[in-house]
Symmetry: C2
Subunit: 580 residues, 2 copies
């Protein structure tokens, strides 16, 4: 089979104006960006909100292996399958970070014959939204450091000189770092504001660091804002620092929130693309699924739900991660939850979840994983069963998509399908990678059957409950653990955030995706574990508190042989070597 | 009169497709980016190169005051004046940095009724070119730091592990910093690669810093590349570090140049916009005019010269800066120089150049500058006369544009016009700010008269001359000084760069724009000064060596009351408060 980029570049795509027209988007609602991309105007948001609403299908997965289960392939494939059976469908996906494209190979456009195209544009700048997030984030960083500098430099004279009330900033109380959309480990921990001996013009020296842009709170805000007005208000609430007396200093306090909104104005409009089979696909926002909620935007969902009968979207990692956050964080902000869940599973992924194999990205698969192995599969099925039950916990019907690989055993697939049916979920094979929408017709039919069932969506806790109670609910109900262990720091954080009035925010668990528990070594369905809580971090603009249960890496590095080695342009200016 | 943004937002603009069609751009050569912006495809470059070539008018100025002389206003106004008298005209301008928009007020779109529109799009992201420069630059930075880390980490085992030959990198021999399009003084001097005690995973600790993106060598490359193939080759030649033995380590050596080209591919296409009176305007690249050459791109010029009869472009600062670099650096790379020069002067600017006034941005003008002051004007005229002669030195006819302000004295303007005529140059009043193209008809006619004269363009020196000889030529012939004084560092740099084979590159003088000399305190026409040369820096990709004659600030800071305080979005999503 051809490489992903070869398939993408040889595809016969429609002009984006035609894709838009077929989707019911009016010409004045479309802002073309070249031939195959377009921004959707805010005016569409109002119209879509007043239109009959479609159904929202949320694609999640078993506990992921380092190779991935094909969640985006299934999201795009399912939408193509729905189109093939005559449904009016749209897909909503996250915008991939550009930085990692140059690190370890692998795009985020789906793959095979279930891709969003052109894949090189999706994987590089797209329409510049991540650049805008980076710029708005770094403007806030420059602004708070400049304010710190000027307040300390002028001292008592600050107010007289500027007419502005001093905020009482200190070097060690700035909590806002900087971001860059690049894998750059050297920026994880840095010292800024250094001066030549005897000088002070470069500001106040302090420790800081860069995260990758997807980890910016502004990316979460872009994904959670319901409209431009809400975006502006959320930007104002972002906390950049604390005063000497412990009071939060927000972007509104230093007067930078309006300029941040100006930088983000166009980024708040979703980008329309198309799948290889012409499914209109909205690409918008790409927040992390640990320190943030790992779902594409509410604005995109709102537009799509007013245009299509069925909208397929996806959430990061397994159902304990992005799906949980979609239900407990995104759904609250959106005012609606999903109408059905699709859990993606693969034979090799389930076997890996048995703990009997050691799969690593960039390394060849062990031959043995292609052999039939009933015990490994049975061990892995327990993990799938947990994710089925987990999705059902939120009151939505569940369909399992078995993402088939060419060498998969028919007998094992049949065994698995029978087990899923026993567990009470719908099940369908998906051959979307190799066959596109035609390979997902069975899945599409199963999803339509699920959507005909009544859904009783409900999140897992009430926001008004105390923070500690919400953490206990996550550990015990969401993960099946036996409690939490709060560090001294975590206890102090809970007390402080509650006092400051942020105790009503939902919690966003920053935990490993590689286990249902907090511990990546615990495979299958862990029980009897206590979730350690190391600390809590406020994202007042995004509207959640993220909870550290372990080390979270928010800035990747480049490996010895990075993917950039093979990326280039050819004589005609085509981009080559991405994901080959 | 209304504010610039109010004029811009109330303008009746044409669809960019109509602007393009009127300019002779074919539909398949146009890549629209919304209604009022479009990228121009590379296919146009080939067609334009084979078309009859237009004339190139280069707008420069007297020694600038902190308030600016209205060079962009005159560039756009002149192009509108040329359109008004029936000429087929295009303008080519630089893309302004976004960062400074949030610092000190003042856009870079021109002003009044001679603006490029929409001005808020020009001043913010435009079509993302600066973001692409930033990303490509920072990919190279991450790549060289990652290579340093992996080489030192694996030591002898590096080659066996990776199959790549070690480059002998050392922490103190990386010369490539990072960039961000933001005014952020805290990033000028930083320490990167810091680790928690006992750990090494964040790389190799070393001192480094960020420049603003306009100061990136990649911005100069974008402006100097003649086509995409040349761009790719120049990226490969960029020097990121030196090996233990002093050999340059290029982007090609570490295999990152192709990925940088992929990131920059779309940015290498100029952006078509329009002036308020519909002049097609190409916006492309914005390199500094001290450590780089301060001119918009060769690719944009090439496209425009194949489409229009007259192309108006501008160069940064006074004629000793951007204009000199246009003649000695850009013209060599382009294979053609300007056909005429326009020197912009204002009464207040000439008076300021007399040294009798102290003008500062953001502070009100002294009342006295509006009064007639024959002595101050006569003192300032010497500066104008120098710039007229300087432009003529390169063999091109000169037109002086007197950029009129409402309160200017008619008697003083008349005196000045007479003096300019005595000096042998054409002269015309320009009222382009207040009246648009109608206010620049006289100027347009003077420029057409100048273009009818034979031009004998020639740069000032031959590249094959030794570096020291080229520096002497700059000090004595280009500035009228009496020699150079080389520091020990400069002598060592000259020897080293010559040995490495870079001695044939042209020199790019990084000196103050506020005096014809190296010393900002020397007003009018300084003589008897010796230019100190502190050091030389290689830009092998851009193809010049920049020469430090003083401190050059490559990262601005935010002031106490930054411009961002007034910038916001309104309820309809319009951007407000830029340049008001």
């Amino acid at each position: 089979m051809k490489s992903d980029i070869a398939i993408s570049q040889s595809a016969c795509l429609s002009a984006i104006t035609d894709v838009a027209a077929a989707a019911g988007i009016q010409p004045q609602e479309l802002i073309p960006q070249g031939q195959y991309k377009a921004k959707l105007s805010y005016s569409l948001l109002n119209r879509a909100s007043n239109a009959p609403q479609g159904k929202l299908v949320l694609v999640t997965a078993i506990t992921p292996t380092p190779l991935g289960e094909g969640k985006t392939v299934t999201t795009i494939g399912l939408s193509q399958g729905l189109k093939a059976i005559g449904k009016k469908v749209m897909a909503c996906i996250r915008q991939p970070s550009m930085g990692p494209v140059f690190g370890v190979k692998g795009g985020a456009a789906g793959g095979g014959y279930s891709q969003v195209a052109p894949m090189e544009e999706l994987n590089l700048h797209l329409t510049g939204d991540i650049h805008a997030v980076t710029a708005a984030h770094n403007l806030a960083a420059a602004a708070i450091d400049a304010r710190l500098y000027h307040e300390l430099r002028h001292g008592e004279a600050f107010e007289a000189k500027t007419g502005m009330t001093p905020l009482g900033l200190q070097a060690d109380s700035v909590v806002w770092g900087r971001v860059v959309d690049m894998n750059d480990r050297a920026l994880r921990k840095i010292t800024i504001g250094q001066n030549e001996p005897g000088k002070t013009i470069n500001g106040i020296e302090r420790e800081s660091g860069f995260d990758i842009s997807a980890a910016s709170e502004l990316m979460a805000i872009l994904a959670l804002a319901s409209d431009l007005k809400d975006l502006r208000a959320r930007l104002g609430r972002v906390v950049l620092a604390y005063s000497k007396t412990g009071q939060p200093v927000t972007a509104e306090d230093i007067g930078v929130a309006g300029a941040m909104a100006a930088i983000l104005r166009d980024a708040a409009q979703p980008t329309l693309m198309q799948s290889l089979e012409g499914v209109p696909t909205l690409v918008h926002a790409g927040p992390f699924a640990n320190i943030a909620h790992g779902n594409s935007s509410i604005i995109a969902d709102r537009m799509a739900l007013g245009l299509a009968d069925v909208v397929v979207t996806e959430a990061g990692f397994g159902s304990d991660m992005g799906f949980e956050k979609a239900c407990n964080i995104k759904a609250r902000a959106a005012g609606r939850g999903p109408d059905a869940a699709v859990v993606v599973a693969t034979l090799r992924g389930l076997k890996a979840n048995s703990g009997r194999y050691d799969l690593r990205p960039g390394q060849p698969l062990p031959e043995s994983i292609f052999n039939e192995d009933a015990e490994a599969l049975a061990g892995g099925f327990a993990n799938l069963k947990w994710h089925i039950d987990n999705a059902a916990r939120y009151g939505v019907p569940v369909v399992v998509a078995l993402n088939r690989f060419p060498d998969d055993s028919d007998a094992e697939l049949q065994w698995l399908a029978d087990k899923v049916k026993e567990a009470g979920a719908q099940v369908a094979l998906s051959e979307a990678f190799a066959k596109g929408g035609e390979g997902a017709i069975e899945l599409a039919q199963a999803v339509m059957a699920a959507l005909s069932q009544p859904a009783q969506f409900a999140p897992l806790y009430q926001c008004e409950q105390p923070l500690e109670h919400k953490l206990l609910t996550m550990a015990e109900v969401a993960y099946g653990g036996s409690g939490i262990e709060l560090s001294e720091q975590a206890k102090a954080d809970i007390e402080r955030l509650t006092e400051l009035g942020y105790g009503d925010l939902p919690v966003c668990m920053a935990k490993t995706p590689l286990s249902i528990s907090h511990d990546p070594a615990l495979k299958g369905v862990p029980t009897d574990f206590v979730v350690p809580v190391r600390g809590l971090r406020l994202c007042a603009g995004a509207g959640f508190i993220y909870v550290l249960t372990g080390n979270v890496m928010t800035m990747p590095g480049l490996p010895e042989k990075p993917a950039y080695l093979s990326i280039d342009i050819d004589e005609d200016g085509n981009i080559v070597g991405i994901d080959e």
